[in-house]
């Protein structure tokens, strides 16, 4: 299963010109892999991550996610796929500021039509897992950056997705928090989850077991490592 991209292209209309952000990318990511996608800004790595995260559709080509063709899905089907199969962790956390950490973690379950009781139970379990059960009722702005990112990770995991997508998850954190967060990703990988990490920092990419480098909309290199840093 996992992810299979075949000849995926993404083009944008910029004024008169048609700009290609991705060109004929073919890629396979197996279940349980820990992959880092690297590249400078403008390389197309964000576009690739948006397509992998079902936030966007490719202009051409095929994307099989767990065996389902995503390229032709409607907006609502994409939303449902994101809800059930993908957990997002963003650079700027993207927590809702007016609701508590606990409710933030439970948020995806609202859209999965899970009952309130179960929502809060599952969210509490995950906050416990990331070591924040004492701060359940705090608002995001009452938490440190590292804590906020842990809340975001709990939220990404709450609907038990097959893939965790992290977009520069340590970009707004100090180095100690960064290590904490990366350790969580490593242990998630250890549990057998697929983790896809988008970053431009080589030392963060080092945590991954496979590094895909993107440049000018093409895959420049795709290296697998035997074993490194657990």
């Amino acid at each position: 299963m996992g992810i299979v991209l075949k000849d995926v292209s993404k083009r944008y209309q910029m004024g008169e010109e048609l700009v290609a952000a991705l060109e004929d990318i073919s890629l396979e990511i197996m279940d349980g892999e820990f992959v880092a996608i690297m590249g400078p800004s403008g390389s197309g790595k964000s576009t690739l991550m948006n397509i992998l995260g079902c936030l966007d559709r490719p202009s051409d080509g095929s994307y099989l996610l767990d065996g389902y063709e995503v390229a032709n899905m409607s907006d609502d089907e994409l939303a449902k796929t994101r809800n059930q199969r993908i957990g997002f962790v963003f650079q700027n956390f993207n927590l809702l500021s007016r609701i508590s950490a606990w409710e933030n973690v439970a948020l995806p379950l609202i859209y999965a039509r899970v009952s309130e009781k179960e929502r809060l139970e599952r969210a509490a379990r995950l906050l416990d897992m990331v070591g924040l059960s004492a701060r359940k009722r705090h608002l995001p702005n009452e938490l440190s950056g590292g804590q906020r990112q842990r809340v975001a990770i709990a939220r990404a995991l709450v609907n038990n997705p097959s893939i965790i997508m992290a977009d520069e998850p340590t970009g707004n954190l100090d180095s100690r928090s960064s290590v904490d967060i990366m350790d969580i990703f490593s242990s998630l990988h250890g549990e057998g989850r697929t983790v896809i990490l988008v970053t431009h920092e080589p030392d963060i990419a080092e945590y991954a077991k496979r590094i895909i480098t993107v440049r000018d909309g093409l895959i420049l290199s795709d290296q697998k490592k035997e074993s490194h840093h657990v």
């Binding site: 936030l55 609502d76 939303a79 449902k80 994101r82 809800n83 993207n94 809702l96 609701i99 609202i110």
Partner: protein, 404 residues
């Protein structure tokens, strides 16, 4: 999902209390204005209807036609063909009527002590009291015995009593009409002005037979008032009386009637229509403010959507569908309309009371206007919420997440 969306909507409104209240104010004022204005309009209508009803709304009036001699036609009512027997005949043969009252009237000078007053003297029968919904303030009204005995008795209207006797109770005293003394047996309660501006209290009533034979010296009547039992059978009764009187007066074929049967429903209809127009006018002016309130909701919802672009992006990334976002924002504007509507109803009722107490205008609060304007305020919340909610629901999650 509905419950969650309600919670989200209420939270959003509570997090911006002042803004929410100001937005609601537009609807509160709009709904309040509609209810208050319609209550004023309905109050006017009720007043006019009452004054027409006191004239006798289900009344037919038979008057003699114009006399004509060798092609010269005199004024309507100048014919002398209508007699008291016609009234008896109508009473006996036509069904569906309550009262029949023939009348005569003429202007005379009245003298009492050193005061004099010129007014209309009306010859009437006891039924006239019921037809005109008259009430006697002190003393009594003309009776059947007065009719058959042709008694010289008189019932004074309030204006006449006031002008001849001042504050003294005239019952039992005597008044001279055309230099003949009449005993005063009663004084009518004041009816005030008619809708045409006539003083309805400036009148003296004496028995019909007395008026015909002892005062005016005629054997015909000036009008026959007929009160019909049911408003709906007015036309039917009117037709029957017409054909009956033609028979009685031996008018056949295409010959013109020597009498006219008129009714007051046309006046009532006209008045109802006029006041209905006033109510509509007032209501629609107020409805404009409701519309402006709706535009206020739309305005604020647009701002709210823009402000919360990032929130929408997060929700969409986490799996919210078009419908989820649509519902969230739509509920928010509907809740504004709903709460605004309730507030408006309270304001409207309070305003209607204030208008009647302070302004002295008669107001009638109609349940219909409350229900309609409440429904309208929710509908306005819905309608003006659709565009912003749709705008929110259609946001591209990538763009929305990038929004600062």
């Amino acid at each position: 999902m509905f419950k969650e969306s309600i919670t989200i909507a209420l939270r959003a409104l509570l997090s911006n209390k002042l803004r929410s209240v100001l937005t609601m104010l537009g609807i509160i004022i709009g709904v309040g204005a509609v209810i208050a204005m319609v209550s004023v309009g309905l109050g006017v209508r009720e007043k006019v209807q009452n004054s027409i009803a006191s004239l006798g709304s289900n009344m037919l009036i038979v008057t003699p036609g114009a006399a004509s001699s060798q092609g010269v036609r005199s004024a309507s009512g100048s014919s002398i063909t209508l007699v008291a027997d016609d009234a008896d005949y109508i009473r006996k043969t036509v069904s569906g009527i309550d009262y029949v009252a023939p009348t005569v009237s003429k202007q005379y000078q009245l003298i009492a002590g050193n005061q004099n007053w010129t007014t209309t003297v009306q010859g009437i029968t006891p039924d006239y009291m019921a037809i005109r919904s008259l009430t006697v303030g002190s003393g009594s009204f003309v009776t059947e015995r007065d009719i058959s005995a042709r008694n010289r008795v008189a019932v004074l209207g309030a204006t006449v009593a006031e002008n001849l006797f001042g504050s003294v109770n005239p019952v039992g005293q005597s008044v001279r009409i055309n230099n003949t003394p009449y005993q005063i047996i009663g004084v009518l309660d004041s009816k005030g002005q008619s809708s045409m501006g006539q003083d309805q209290d400036d009148i003296v009533m004496i028995p019909l037979t007395t008026a015909q034979e002892r005062l005016i010296g005629i054997n015909y009547v000036h009008s026959i008032n007929v009160q019909v039992t049911k408003m709906e059978s007015m036309d039917q009764v009117q037709e029957k009386i017409t054909s009956l009187l033609r028979q009685q007066h031996k008018i056949f074929g295409s010959k013109e009637d020597d009498f006219t049967v008129r009714n007051l429903t046309s006046i009532m209809e006209m008045a109802t229509e006029t006041t209905g127009t006033i109510t509509m006018l007032l209501g629609s002016i107020a409805a404009i403010s409701l519309l402006v309130g709706g535009i206020g909701i739309m305005n604020i919802m647009m701002v709210s959507v823009t402000e919360r672009t990032r929130e929408i992006g997060i929700r969409k990334a986490l799996g919210a569908t078009y419908r989820d976002i649509m519902l969230q924002f739509l509920l928010e504007s509907v809740v504004i309309g709903l709460i605004g509507g309730i507030g408006g109803i309270l304001l409207g009722i309070a305003a209607a009371y204030a208008i009647s107490i302070i302004g002295g205008l008669n107001t009638v609060i109609s349940v219909m206007s409350i229900i309609v304007s409440f429904g309208f305020s929710i509908a306005i919340g819905l309608f003006f919420g659709i565009y912003p909610a749709r705008k929110a629901a259609l946001l591209d999650p990538i763009e929305a997440l990038r929004y600062e």
